[in-house]
């Protein structure tokens, strides 16, 4: 175990790599960053936040009483690379912050919630406008309605090549599988 731990130390030779996880409020960005990160996720406030509680629609996410516009930040140290994860708000009013976050990112994992599929449109618009590679992962909640993948694909108007996954944001293995699918997709795009 000692050697496994020392593998996790960052050296100045590690290549920093960035992935963005985007989605509407309450979709599970904080959860998935927490499930993936090796450090306690950091949370710094970049944008003023109080106003958001009036603007952001919380219907359908009853348990959520506050809205965080702060960015979730997690880290995964892998051999040779250190992967930084940003949980980014998916509202178009954060366009400036969004542009900064996706600059230099390998790609974006878009989290969607089938209970509020419409909320994902703004995020998908941001991703498409940024011209960045992405995959969509549906975070499955206990009361999420089940739709066949084709119906979801159609509802989200996804390109047939864009990966559409189902994940449980709380489960590290499931969250990791989504990231792997995203990076595999990016690799295919780069190789093609």
């Amino acid at each position: 175990m000692a050697s496994a731990r020392s593998d996790r130390r960052i050296s100045a030779d590690h290549i920093p790599v960035k992935l963005v996880i985007a989605g509407p409020f309450g979709v599970g960005k904080t959860t998935i960053v927490g499930a993936l990160s090796e450090i306690e996720p950091l949370n710094t406030e970049e944008v003023l936040t109080q106003a958001g509680t009036l603007v952001d629609d919380l219907t359908g996410v009853n348990e959520k009483t506050t809205t965080t516009t702060a960015i979730d930040f997690g880290r995964l140290t892998l051999p040779g690379v250190v992967l930084y994860l940003f949980g980014a708000p998916g509202q178009t009013r954060f366009q400036v912050l969004w542009d900064e976050l996706v600059r230099g990112a390998l790609g974006v994992l878009v989290l969607a919630d089938t209970r509020r599929i419409d909320d994902s449109f703004a995020v998908l618009d941001l991703v498409e406008n940024a011209g960045i590679r992405y995959a969509v992962a549906v975070n499955h909640f206990p009361d999420s309605p089940q739709y066949p993948p084709e119906a979801l694909r159609q509802a989200l108007d996804l390109d047939p090549r864009t990966p559409l996954l189902v994940c449980d944001a709380r489960d590290p293995a499931s969250a990791r599988a989504s990231l792997i699918a995203l990076v595999e997709h990016i690799r295919e795009l780069v190789l093609s």
């Binding site: 100045a12 790599v17 960035k18 950091l42 992967l83 230099g104 792997i180």
Partner: protein, 116 residues
């Protein structure tokens, strides 16, 4: 979620920002990896700078993590780092440009994730 350590401000923002000499060209962003230069002179640094160096003594960190641990805004720490790079105290490693990601980096990420 936010721990006490992150909340506690070691240095107030205005003090951290007051004496920053800002280089003309800054290529420091959130995920820039920051480490201490081998020949860095840690003497005579301002409080924010010496806190930053103490933070980096164990291992390199991203600018974003530095900001969170120092309890200072990212934009302040970005300038702080840029200044210390300018005078040779710190070294940085920027994320590679990603218009066309390097296939070797993608393979590293994939094999790393699969091995977890």
């Amino acid at each position: 979620m936010t721990s006490g350590r992150q909340r506690r401000r070691v240095v107030p923002d205005y003090m951290a920002a007051a004496r920053l000499s800002v280089p003309e060209h800054i290529s420091v962003e959130r995920t820039t990896l920051v480490s201490i230069a081998a020949d860095a002179d840690a003497g005579g640094l301002d409080p924010p700078a010496s806190h930053l160096l103490a933070l980096l003594r164990d291992e390199p960190l991203s600018v974003y993590e530095c900001a969170a641990h120092l309890g200072l805004p990212y934009c302040v720490v970005r300038l702080l780092v840029a200044g210390l790079v300018g005078n040779g105290t710190l070294l940085t490693r920027d994320p590679p440009p990603s218009d066309l990601p390097d296939i070797e980096i993608l393979e590293l990420v994939l094999s790393g994730l699969r091995a977890l």
